[in-house]
Subunit: 110 residues, 2 copies
DNA sequence: TCTTATACATAAGAAAATTATGTATATATT
DNA sequence: AATATATACATAATTTTCTTATGTATAAGA
């Protein structure tokens, strides 16, 4: 994902947010979008992404729809209602995380 | 640590930063300081903290000094020179992480 | 023809945490 | 005096999340 360990635990938030903006996306597309948006800083590995997508689906946060494009398989994921709600939570948690970490590393501003 | 998984991977950064500001601290003190600074948001568990301190010591980032206060054991940790350098790196990584995540969740501002 | 890109998947192992224990002393409460 | 809470360390079992490696398959480009 990156040389930095800080990204651990962030993948779900990233996936949910991207799907929140893009209605439906497939796995490979997510990896490419993240690479673009972060100018190469963050590379989502397949070994992390696919199990994460399967887990989100199993938890009922994502719905999947299989399509065949150019004779190749694609699995489009989209947020369920629950998934949309959970996206809000995850984004709040991210904002809170950033605030908390800034209080720790920059206590003068707190 | 918190209900949010985002803190996974942040503990080392937190420890190093606190020691960078406080010269020397012992484990229990770190847990209390973090609780104060984050107004209870973040509680460092012992099962996470002590192994992390031992690892940082083994890697040569921390020196340890045992003391007896009120007939109770304390292990004071302080940054080595290497540890001070690594603190700078970790803080840079945190800033980069925050920047990257903001580019992902708030692409309009990127 | 061979490499790279597209597109999925999983298994083995590592890393970092949680949860549950354990030991021991000091202080506060009932 | 007895009990609970706070202080102070530690580790073991388990879980979560990731990396690394591997596998399958088609399309496109050199």
């Amino acid at each position: 994902m990156s040389n930095s360990k800080l990204y651990k635990g962030s993948l779900t938030t990233i996936i949910l947010k991207l799907l929140n903006e893009n209605d439906k996306m497939y796995g490979y597309e997510i990896t490419q979008r993240v690479k673009e948006l972060t100018k190469g800083e963050l590379k989502i590995t397949e070994g992390a992404l696919y199990p994460a997508l399967h887990k989100l689906e199993a938890e009922g946060l994502l719905d999947v729809e299989v399509a065949k494009v150019d004779n190749r398989l694609r699995k489009y994921y989209k947020l369920t209602e629950t998934g949309t709600k959970e996206t809000v939570n995850k984004l709040e948690e991210l904002a809170e995380y950033i605030k908390t970490m800034q209080a720790l590393v920059n206590p003068k501003l707190a």
